[in-house]
Symmetry: C2
Subunit: 437 residues, 2 copies
C-alpha cells in the first residue's frame, strides 16, 4: 500500500475528551472516527489491526474445539424475560420497539440466545461437551462513554459458551478456555494476569478476569509479582495439565479491588513481592452452572435417561477494546510500536524525496515490489514531506520495522531500523531474512 492512497486522516488537533494515550493515538493516526457519543467508525488502519486481533482470537478458540457461529445483534425481549434478566438489566441495555410494537433489544451479551439455540438442538449427553462462540457487535448504552474504544457503546466482542453434563466436566471446559485466553494474549504480545473476580450480572460462583497492567486502567490491582513469571508454555491442552495450571495460578495472590483483602494480602505476600498497580480488563470468564438452563428449561438426557439442566459457562474477550489496550501497553514517549503479530503493516519504506531527484523514489518502488512478491505486507511512504516529519508520523503509526532510503543507503544496501533500536545498513536479502523471522 502506498501511503498517499491509504485513507488515513492524520490529525493534529485532539478533542478535549481524549484523555488517555490510546484514544489520542487512535484519533491522531486516523484509526477511528467518532460518529456519535461512544460510537466509532473503524478506518482502514484501525480496522486492519482489529481484524488481526480477531483472527488470533478465532484461531485460539478453534484450537480448543470451539465452533464458530453468529448470533444476531437484535434480540427479542422474550428470552430475557424467561431468564429473569430483562428487568434486572438496567438502562445500559438498549431497548427497542419495532414497528409492530414488539419489545426488542440490542444484545449486550448472549447467554439467553445461545441457551435458546442449544435447547432446541441438543437433547442427549452423547453430544456433549459443546463449545460455541461468535464474534459479534454488542451494545451497552453507557451513560458516560469515555476512553475511546475502551469504554464505548458499540463494541466488538468474542463470546463463547460451554455446555456440559456435570460440574466436573464443566470445569474442564472452563480450564481449557482459561488456557486459550492466556495463549491468545501471549500471541498479542500482552502479559495478561488471570484474577479471581466477581460475577456481576452474568452470575455464577466461579469467575476470572484477565487483566493487563496499564496506568490508565480502571481496575486497581493487587498481586504477588511471582504471578507474572508463570510460563504458560509448560502446560498442555490435557485436562490434568490444565488443572495443574489453574492450581498454580490460584496459589499466588492476585486480586482486583472488588476482591481485595488487605490483611490477607499482607499476610501471604512478602513485602518486596507486593505489586499495587492499575490494569485493564481484556477478558472475563464465568462458570454459572444452571443459572440460565434451569429457568429456560434447557434439558439434557443423562446416561440413565434422566433429564438434567445442562451446565454452562460463558467466556468473553473484548476484541475492539484490545486495540486500545495494546496501545496502552506499548505506547511510550511518543513512540508506538505494534507487536509484530497485529501490526497494520510488517514494514514501512521511508524514502527521502525531492522533486529534482527521482532516484530514492525509484529505489523505494523497486524494494516495494520485491517485498510484495515475498508476500510481505509493506507500506511505502510516498508522501512529499521532509524526513523529520515522516519519522515523527511513523513513530505514531507504529509499524515496527523501517527501511530508510536516504543518505545512508547505497546502491544495494539500505538503512534498516527496528523502532526504538539502532539502525543497520543491510542488503535486501538480509532485510527479508530479518522480516521473515
Amino acid at each position: 500500500m502506498h501511503l498517499s492512497k491509504l485513507f488515513i486522516p492524520i490529525t493534529k488537533s485532539l478533542p478535549s475528551e481524549a484523555k488517555i494515550k490510546s484514544h489520542q493515538l487512535m484519533l491522531r493516526t486516523g484509526m477511528i472516527k467518532q460518529s456519535s457519543a461512544g460510537i466509532y467508525s473503524w478506518l482502514p488502519l484501525g480496522f486492519k489491526v482489529m481484524k488481526k486481533i480477531e483472527q488470533i482470537v478465532r484461531e485460539e478458540q478453534n484450537l480448543i474445539g470451539a465452533q464458530e457461529m453468529l448470533m444476531p445483534t437484535i434480540q427479542s425481549s422474550e428470552i430475557w424475560k424467561e431468564s429473569g434478566r430483562y428487568d434486572d438489566y438496567g438502562e445500559e441495555m438498549l431497548r427497542i420497539k419495532d414497528r409492530q410494537g414488539r419489545e426488542m433489544l440490542y444484545g449486550p451479551t448472549n447467554e439467553e440466545l445461545v441457551t435458546d439455540i442449544f435447547r432446541s438442538s441438543i437433547k442427549s449427553y452423547k453430544s456433549l461437551p459443546q463449545l460455541l462462540y461468535h464474534i459479534q457487535w454488542k451494545f451497552r448504552d453507557e451513560i458516560r462513554p469515555r476512553f475511546g474504544v475502551m469504554r464505548c457503546k458499540e463494541f466488538y466482542m468474542k463470546d463463547a459458551y460451554s455446555f456440559d453434563l456435570s460440574d466436573e466436566d464443566a470445569k474442564k471446559s472452563y480450564n481449557k478456555m482459561f488456557y486459550s485466553y492466556l495463549k491468545t494474549f501471549e500471541r498479542l504480545g500482552l502479559k495478561a494476569i488471570p484474577m479471581a473476580a466477581d460475577t456481576g450480572p452474568i452470575g455464577g460462583d466461579l469467575s476470572h478476569e484477565f487483566v493487563i497492567l496499564a496506568e490508565t486502567g480502571e481496575s486497581q490491582i493487587y498481586a504477588d509479582k511471582e504471578i507474572f513469571e508463570i510460563d504458560i508454555n509448560k502446560y498442555s491442552y490435557k485436562d490434568e495439565s490444565l488443572k495443574k495450571m489453574r492450581e498454580d495460578f490460584s496459589n499466588i495472590y492476585a486480586a482486583t479491588d472488588e476482591k481485595f483483602n488487605e490483611d490477607k494480602f499482607n499476610k501471604i505476600v512478602k513485602k518486596e513481592n507486593q505489586v499495587k498497580t492499575k490494569g485493564i480488563e481484556v477478558g472475563h470468564i464465568f462458570y454459572f452452572g444452571d443459572k440460565y438452563s434451569k429457568p429456560m428449561n434447557c434439558l439434557i438426557d443423562d446416561k440413565s435417561g434422566k433429564k438434567i439442566s445442562v451446565k454452562m459457562g460463558s467466556y468473553g474477550i473484548g476484541v475492539s477494546r484490545l486495540v486500545g489496550a495494546t496501545i496502552e501497553a506499548n505506547y511510550n514517549n511518543d513512540v508506538m510500536k505494534w507487536p509484530k503479530s497485529i501490526s497494520p503493516f510488517e514494514v514501512v519504506i521511508i524514502p527521502s524525496l525531492s522533486k529534482n531527484n527521482k532516484e530514492n523514489f525509484e529505489k523505494s518502488e523497486k524494494i516495494y515490489k520485491e517485498l510484495k512478491k515475498q508476500n510481505i505486507d509493506v507500506l511505502l511512504d510516498d508522501v512529499d514531506e521532509n524526513m523529520s516529519n515522516k519519522f515523527k508520523k511513523h513513530d505514531l503509526i507504529g509499524v515496527p520495522y523501517q527501511i530508510i532510503i536516504g543518505s545512508k543507503s547505497g546502491n544495494d544496501k539500505f538503512e534498516f531500523k527496528e523502532l526504538n533500536e539502532k539502525s543497520e545498513v543491510l542488503s535486501l536479502d538480509q532485510i527479508k531474512t530479518k522480516l521473515k523471522t
Copy 2:
C-alpha cells in the same frame, strides 16, 4: 471435522412459512435458526458458507483498490436529517431512542455516515479517487419478512462508496465496481446479469441491479438471451476496456419489470431470443453524483482551488442473501451441490459403519488425517446410521465430493464421487489430485 462433533441440528419438520427451497434447506441442515421474526442465528454450517462468500467479495473489492473499513450499526439521526432522508425513509428504518432520549437508528445503508467521514478527512482533489467499503450488519424492519435469509430484517451486506472529482471520473469508478461484481459472482459459481434499474430511495440517475435467474425470484426479468453469453474475462481492469464492457452490456436488452417496455422488447429482441423469467437481486449499484455531498457540504478543492461537491456512488452486495440465492440456483431434485469455492467442506468421507467391524472406521480416520495434512478441509461422517440415510443427508448438506468407504473400496482404493456424477474407484493420491484441481 467429525460430523458427530459438528453443531449441526438437522431437522425433518419444517415450519409452514418456509416456502422456498433455500429457506427449507437451510433449516433442515441446521445452517440457520430463527431467533425472532425475520432474525436469524447462523449456525456453524451456514456461518462457514457465509464467511467464504464474504471473503470472495472482500478479495474482489481489494483487487480494484477499494479499502476496507467498518462503520457502526447504530447511527445518529442527525446526519440523516442533513441529507433529508430521515423523514423520507419509512417505517422500515428501525428507529431507537437511547437512554438520554437521543434519536438513533440501526443503519439500513451508509451513504450519510460515509459522507460524514469523508468530509472531515479529505479536502483536495489530489486524494481522489477514493473507494471505501465495509461489510456490516444492516437492519430493515420488514413488515412481512419471508423467504428465510432472502428477505429478513437483520442482514449482512457489503456496501462500497466511491468519491470522485468529476462525473467522468465517477463513471470510471462505477465501471470498475460493475466489473468487480461480475467477477465476484463468477467466483461464487453464479451467472449474474446486470440490468438497468430504478434508483429508489438511494437516488441518482444511473443504476444497475445484478440478478441471478431463479424461479423463486421476486423480480420479473425480460432479456435477450445473448446477454448470458458475454464472457467477462475478455475485459481487463483498464478504463477503456471497462467502458467497452458497459457498452456491450447496454447494447443487449435486459430489464426488470420496473424498467420493462413491451414494445421496445418485441421490437429489438428476436422472438427466439426472448427470455421471460424470474430472478433474485444479489447486487445493486448506484451513481448519484452530489445527492448527499451537496446537502451535507462535502466539498473538495479542485485543481483551480474552487470548492466543489464530491461525486459519489454506492455499491451493495447482499452477503447473507447470497447464501440463499446460491441455494436457489443450485438445489434441484433434493440434491444440493455447493460450488467448490464456497462449499462448507471440500470433501466428505462416508464410511459404512458396523459395531462388529471397525475396519471401515479406521480406514476413514486414516484418510481423514492424510487429507488434513494436505490442508484439505474434510468432513468425516462418523455418525452411526445406515448408508441410505447418510446419502440422503449428504445430498442436502451438499459437499460436492464424497469418499465412500464401503463394499467398493479395497485396501488402498476408494470409491470417489462427485455429487450428481458417477463414482470411480481411485487411489488416495488420485483423489488428492482431483480435489486440488
